[in-house]
């Protein structure tokens, strides 16, 4: 059996897998053979065509199309390009757009998150309650805790370095923003001593995670795209 030409079906059309090592003239012959053999199976469907495995010039693409017209009743309406570089750019754009959405839209959660509970959200999250030790909040956007944050908070998990974590009472076990993770000091505060209880904000700057009191300056530095 010869595998230099393979026809693969997709939802919207067919993909032609071509052997890159063969001479184009030789390949044309094989394409013709292949389609000849599958005419009955393919019928006169309307579909899109794309090429894989080999870079083709416009001239070559046209020649292959001619072969298909000659050998089958297929109606090829368009040629879909699969360009990896373009795809990467598309994906990046999409991700950035999603990141923007996740940072700028949010939802509320009312109640305490207890040990073992994990709250995962696609957007920013505002928690009306405490996040206890052993609990975890994971958000693609920002995390705001209107209570005590004593557990883990992961903000901007899809790579948003502008995400922040804000809490009325900041005593976290771990905070992660984008890919940077920070943990609390090993020496905990003496139990029951809440000397200062100021809202604090955690943010990322030059790859370092900072926690500081929520001041006007800190608010000015927040970037919401």
């Amino acid at each position: 059996m010869n595998n230099s030409v393979i026809i693969k079906g997709t939802k919207s059309g067919i993909i032609l897998l071509l052997d890159p090592s063969l001479d184009f003239a030789e390949l044309k012959g094989k394409i013709a053979d292949k389609f000849q053999a599958s005419t009955g199976f393919l019928g006169d469907a309307v579909m899109a065509l794309s090429f894989e495995g080999r870079k083709l010039s416009d001239q070559e693409q046209r020649e292959i199309l001619d072969i298909i017209y000659e050998t089958t009743d297929l109606n090829i309406v368009c040629i879909v390009e699969t360009d990896e570089r373009k795809e990467a750019v598309m994906e990046k754009c999409l991700n950035e757009r999603l990141m923007e959405l996740s940072a700028n839209t949010g939802q509320f959660y009312k109640g305490n998150l207890r040990s073992g509970q994990v709250l995962e959200v696609e957007t920013s999250i505002i928690i009306l309650g405490d996040v206890n030790p052993g609990a975890k909040v994971v958000s693609k956007g920002n995390i705001i805790v209107l209570g005590t944050l004593k557990g883990n908070a992961y903000a901007g998990v899809s790579g948003n370095i502008h995400a922040f974590v804000l809490a009325i009472d900041m005593e976290p076990v771990q905070i992660k923003i984008s890919d940077v993770i920070a943990r609390c000091p090993d020496r905990p505060k003496k139990a029951g001593k809440h000397a200062e209880r100021n809202p604090q904000i955690a943010y990322l700057e030059n790859g370092n995670l900072y926690i500081e009191p929520l001041s006007r300056d800190a608010i000015n530095d927040i970037k919401l795209f």
Partner: protein, 263 residues
């Protein structure tokens, strides 16, 4: 219709069984008809704490499997006419019973008893799921230690996830002297972390160990812990009893002074 209360903690050794025995006995003393169910299959011990070990013929698993009638398995306490115990099986394990079966059993017992107390095993596995299946409310027992509080927090979360929202907290084995020195969390500290209603604080009291070993619950006698348990019982049946913290302080100080007087 009776109320089903599960007594649970997550962590082991914080005093679930002792609490069950004392709260159950206390409620019986308050003229309520009470049955205690030991759901810790394989690690039976509520019967020992109550001093009823030698009367066990049938057990929980026998009832569930239909080897006997409920009436046959339930042991009547020799001292309190209103107190009954359904002991657990010693030779089986937690998988012998399903949550559905426990719920059915609890619903049957509701007809006859005012209170059904479930003594929950430690952990969050099958035994825990069995114990909470039929419960209307929960008493969460914890000691003022970070490990016990952490586990209690997890348990409260799991109870909430199972639609058991009526949960109350018992802080057990509190040592007021250590709290004063700042070496132990106070009941308030624990409540602040767990954010549920406090129903009682039981001081660390050697009389508890003595009474447990004798198989005679100390609820209602003149020891500090006995009074603390009795107060919990009053609150369970809906009476308003002043908070105990001050009592502990006063009681402890008077005990201290009486100790000094001795020497």
């Amino acid at each position: 219709m009776g109320e089903v209360i599960v007594i649970t903690s997550g962590k082991g050794g914080v005093g679930k069984t002792t609490t069950t025995a004392n709260v159950g006995t206390g409620l019986a003393k308050l003229d309520k008809k009470v049955v205690l169910i030991d759901t810790d299959i394989g690690l039976r011990n509520l019967d020992v704490v109550l001093g009823l070990e030698n009367r066990i013929v049938y057990n929980l698993v026998d009832v569930i499997e239909g080897n006997c009638r409920i009436k046959q398995a339930i042991i009547k306490d020799k001292r309190y006419p209103n107190l009954y115990l359904l002991p657990s099986a010693q030779t089986r394990d937690k998988t012998s019973v399903t949550p559905e079966q426990m719920k059915k059993l609890a619903d049957e017992l509701r007809e006859e008893f005012d209170y059904i107390l479930m003594d929950c095993p430690a952990g969050i596995e099958q035994g825990f799921k069995n114990a909470i299946a039929g419960a209307d409310s929960a008493l969460v027992v914890t000691t003022p230690e970070v490990s016990a509080v952490r586990d209690a927090d997890r348990i409260i979360g799991l109870l909430e996830a199972n639609d058991l929202k009526n949960t109350h907290l018992i802080v057990n084995r509190l040592r007021q002297d250590m709290v004063k020195k700042g070496d132990m969390m106070s009941a308030d500290d624990v409540v602040e972390i767990l954010a549920i209603d406090l129903i009682g604080v039981v001081p660390d009291d050697e009389n508890v160990v003595i009474s447990t070993n004798q198989g005679e619950p100390l609820v209602g006698n003149d020891t500090l812990a006995g009074q603390a348990y009795m107060n919990i019982c009053h609150r369970v049946i809906g009476e308003e009893v002043p908070l105990l913290d001050l009592n502990i302080k006063g009681g402890f100080m008077s005990r201290l002074t009486s100790m000094f007087k001795k020497y």
